[in-house]
Every structure is written in structure tokens, then in C-alpha cells.
């Protein structure tokens, strides 16, 4: 049989068995085309929720988006009664997983709610219910359902601060939340039955998990030692056929690729510029020459006009520092610079070094604007941007070289201690 039977003869949604004790009670949303503004999906998504039965009660793991609550409750009712619910686990508090929670708790007031330590303030913010009782949990905490156990794994920032995974050792199922998920809707549900969803899996990682690679690697340290027969994510196909492949893929995508080319001491510095009359380009070349004087800095110079944004984003992700050159036109930095800067939200820029320069004709605000943006993106910008009015003089070219030299020294930690007065800032 290829299709999973999702409805009974009366057309009522029903639960789908993962194992004898574990059922999918989620919902299919085949009409969704845009998720969270930033993601597209060509065939919708699923909101996956699960119920697991132990000898001393059942647990519900996650719920669904509010508009799909009736499917969720109908599926739940096909395998359990509300009075049997001992435990509710939320692996992630985003509304597409918590939409049915208030009603579920109303129907099962005896249930104990388990959320991650970091989810506490968010739960109140989302549900606006001050009196909601819950138990915050961390790695090492577990809850017993008699002959079935749920172990909690603290896996923050995948992709919200609150995210966690829940593991059933007896079932060998990892309820992973958004980790290993994707926006793909196919009523056959299981990865060995559904259509080709590999692109959705990769795309989801690129936009949802990629900014949090270091957290993915920390989570994998907890996940990889587990004996896992099935991954039950909160979106997309349930991964029961060779689940390890997906775990390995996450490790692969979260590990840096460039480091293998560099010695341990080397750092990478990228200079991007765009120039209308060649003045900002001349500044860029001088900054490049200055930065090249510092040993162990691998400097690259790129004209933004000669490339697409996406590969530049890839480069920046693995660089230690970036310097951006923009002219000021009509009181603003130019669009190619903003296009690049608005595409960097998918990578982690925290603690990278930033610097900005540019030639201008009248006012020169562009450099300051880009500096502010870099700070907003959490780069450190320790050296004030360099601006030159129109064509750089020989003296100004030397200033550019010095600017590149100082930034490269800063990158290598060679600038030495500095003392500043607050009034001079």
C-alpha cells in the first residue's frame, strides 16, 4: 500500500501508527505557499504532532496550527481519551505547534505540561495565560509513562531559543521538533513512501537552521550517541528509513568547509566594493594592499558588480572579517550593498570584524549607514569608517592603506591595548 490511510469510512481524520504505541495526530496543510514570510513551499506543509502510550498514561508531543485543531483533536480521539493524558510536551512554542494547546489543556486539565527552560517566558508571551502551570526541563530530565519514558534534550536555537528534542528510548524515536523537518506535504507521511522531498529538506536547513550552525553541532553531540530507529519531526516526512542519513547530513552542513585550506593561525578578510567612477575601487585596492602587509591574513578583493549575492553570502559565512566599500548616491549607500546586507540573516555573523569605506560627492552618509547596519548584524566595527570626497589624493590613498593595515591587525589581535575617554567616543 502506498498511501497512508488518513480517514475512516465516515471521512473523519484518524491517527496514523508509527509503531504500536506511537501515533501521528498532526494535520496536513497542502495550501500553504509561504511560511514565516521567509520560506516558500511548493506543496504545503504538515504540522506533526504525536501521541505515545505508556502503561501508566499517554503523552501528547506538540500540537498544530490553530486553524487545524479540529483535525488534531479528531485524530487524537481515534487513539486515546483526554482523561488518559498524563503528559503534554512542547518541543517548540511557535504558533504552528502550539495553536491547539489551550484547548488541549482545557480538555485534559490533569495533564502536566513540559517545556524547555528557555521556553518559560515565551509561553506566557504566546498564550497570554499567566496561570498556566508547566514544568521546565533540561537535558537529563525525563518523565515516565510506566513502560515508556520520555527523555528531554536541551537543544536551544534550533531555531528559536526555546527548542528542545524529546527521545523515547524504548521506542527509539526522536521527536525532534523543527530539527530534521521540512515544509513538504504528502499524505503518505513516511520518508520511504512520500515523493522526493530532498530539496525541501535542504532548503529548510538553509533558511531555518543555517544561522545556528554552532547550536546544531552542540545538539548533534546529544543526538548522535542515541540509538534512533525513527525521527519524528514537527514538519514534513517522518524519517523511518535510514534516519542516520539525515543526522549525518546535518553534521555535514553545519561543519565549516573552508578551514581545511587554511593553517590554524590564518584568518580570512574579504573586501567587497562597488564603484561608479573608480574612486571607491581605488580605495578598495589601497585597503587591500594595506591589509596584505599583515602576515597570516588571507585577503580577497571582490567587485560586487561581478557576482551574485548567494555565493558572496557563502564566502562571508566562513570569513573572519568583511570590509564593504560603497559610494553615496542620493544620500544613501547603493542597492547592491543593501542587497548583500539584507541577505545575511541566514548566516551567523556574530563577532566577525567589519569595516566600511567609500567615496562620495556631496554628503557621504552611505558609509555611516552601512556601519550601523553591520553593528545591527552583530559584527564588531572597531575602526570608524573611511570616507573620501570624490577622487582620492595620494595622501588619501595612504590613509586607505593604513585603514586596511589596522583592520588586518585588529583581525589578528595585533593592535595592542588602547585607552579611550568616554567623552571622545
Amino acid at each position: 500500500m502506498n498511501a497512508v490511510e488518513l480517514e475512516n469510512a465516515a471521512g473523519t481524520p484518524k491517527a496514523v501508527a508509527l509503531t504500536k504505541r506511537v501515533h501521528w495526530i498532526g494535520a496536513l496543510d497542502s495550501n500553504l505557499r509561504t511560511f514565516d514570510i521567509i520560506l516558500k513551499t511548493a506543496n504545503g506543509t504538515t504540522y506533526n504532532a504525536y501521541v505515545i502510550r505508556g502503561s501508566e498514561g499517554v503523552a501528547v508531543i506538540d500540537t498544530v496550527k490553530e486553524g487545524f485543531a479540529s483535525d488534531f483533536f479528531a485524530r487524537f480521539e481515534s487513539v486515546a481519551n483526554y482523561s488518559e493524558i498524563k503528559v503534554i510536551v512542547l518541543n517548540h512554542l511557535e504558533p504552528d505547534h502550539t495553536g491547539a494547546l489551550p484547548e488541549l489543556m482545557r480538555r485534559a486539565p490533569q495533564a502536566q505540561l513540559f517545556i524547555s527552560q528557555k521556553a518559560q517566558s515565551m509561553l506566557k508571551g504566546l498564550l497570554k495565560q499567566e496561570e498556566l502551570r508547566f514544568t521546565p526541563v533540561l537535558t537529563g530530565n525525563s518523565v515516565s509513562l510506566g513502560d515508556r519514558t520520555l527523555q528531554f534534550l536541551h537543544t536551544p536555537y534550533l531555531h528559536w531559543p526555546d527548542t528542545q528534542c524529546t527521545f523515547s528510548p524504548e521506542e527509539q524515536i526522536l521527536f525532534s521538533g523543527d530539527v530534521f523537518g521540512c515544509h513538504f506535504c504528502d499524505n503518505r507521511l513516511f520518508n520511504d513512501k512520500v515523493g522526493d522531498f530532498r530539496f525541501s529538506f535542504e532548503y529548510y536547513y538553509s533558511y531555518i537552521m543555517r544561522p545556528f550552525k554552532s547550536y546544531v553541532l552542540s545538539a548533534l553531540e546529544l543526538i548522535e550517541p542515541l540509538t534512533i530507529s525513527m525521527i519524528a519531526p514537527a514538519h514534513g516526512p517522518i524519517l523511518r528509513d535510514r534516519p542516520q542519513r539525515y543526522i549525518q547530513r546535518y553534521r555535514q552542513r553545519s561543519s565549516p568547509s573552508l578551514h581545511s585550506e587554511l593553517s590554524e593561525n590564518q584568518k580570512t578578510l574579504l573586501i567587497f566594493y562597488i564603484s561608479s567612477y573608480g574612486n571607491t575601487r581605488r580605495m578598495a585596492e589601497a585597503i587591500y594592499n594595506g591589509a596584505m602587509q599583515v602576515a597570516d591574513v588571507r585577503v580577497s578583493l571582490y567587485d560586487l558588480e561581478g557576482g551574485e549575492v548567494a555565493p558572496f553570502v557563502d564566502l562571508i559565512e566562513e570569513a573572519d572579517g568583511i570590509i564593504l566599500g560603497t559610494p553615496t548616491i542620493n544620500g544613501d549607500a547603493v542597492k547592491p550593498i543593501w542587497d548583500l546586507l539584507s541577505s545575511l540573516a541566514v548566516v551567523n555573523l556574530k563577532t566577525k570584524l567589519g569595516g566600511v569605506f567609500g567615496s562620495y560627492g556631496w554628503t557621504g552618509e552611505g558609509v555611516r549607514m552601512v556601519e550601523d547596519r553591520l553593528r545591527g548584524l552583530k559584527l564588531r566595527v572597531p575602526i570608524s569608517g573611511l570616507r573620501v570626497k570624490l577622487i582620492p589624493t595620494d595622501e588619501e590613498i595612504l590613509e586607505c592603506e593604513a585603514f586596511g593595515l589596522e583592520l588586518a591587525k585588529e583581525l589578528m589581535g595585533l593592535r595592542g591595548a588602547r585607552e579611550i575617554n568616554f567623552e571622545d567616543l
Partner: protein, 95 residues
């Protein structure tokens, strides 16, 4: 006016400031990598490590204490948007 100094270890910069200055007022201007989210003591983004001069800081408020706890902050961690240097010397770095 009473003075104090804040050293940002990640960039090796020491700033002399008026006593009572919050770390947030200085760190971005000098380019330290301490990063900010809400800037009002709620999100926990700006947790920093105090490496020296812990006792020269204002006491954390009830709200800051709660945010630090929720974010499982380590020993001698504070929110840079809340912590004020009251005098003497402190050294900080991003976590």
C-alpha cells in the same frame, strides 16, 4: 564626577567613564562584540562575562536575575544593557 573604567577584553580597549554608566552605553561605540537584542533587560542576548571587578557593578534587579536564570547564565555573567559600573575597574568580554 566620579570615574570608573571598563575594559573590553575582546578588543583590548579600556574606556574611562562616569560612574553609573551602563556597559551598553560604551560597548557598541568602541566595537566590542557584545551583542544586543531588546536592550531593555528582557531577551538575554547581551549576556556578558565579568572577568574582573564584579563588585564594582550595580546589583542585578529582580528582572535581570530572572532573565539570567532563564538563560542559564554562568557565574559572573550579567546583562550588558542593565549592568552599571559604580566605580573602580571592571573587565568584561562577550560570552
Amino acid at each position: 564626577m566620579a570615574k570608573a573604567t571598563i575594559t573590553f577584553e575582546d578588543i583590548n580597549v579600556t574606556v574611562t567613564v562616569p560612574a553609573g554608566t551602563r556597559v551598553i552605553e560604551v560597548s557598541e561605540k568602541v566595537g566590542s562584540a557584545i551583542t544586543y537584542g531588546c536592550r531593555e533587560g528582557d531577551c538575554g542576548t547581551c549576556i556578558m562575562k565579568i572577568t574582573d571587578g564584579w563588585n564594582n557593578l550595580s546589583e542585578p534587579s529582580v528582572l535581570e536575575d530572572k532573565v539570567l536564570r532563564e538563560n542559564m547564565a554562568g557565574k559572573h555573567n550579567r546583562l550588558a544593557c542593565q549592568a552599571q559600573v559604580l566605580g573602580g575597574k571592571i573587565s568584561v568580554k562577550p560570552v
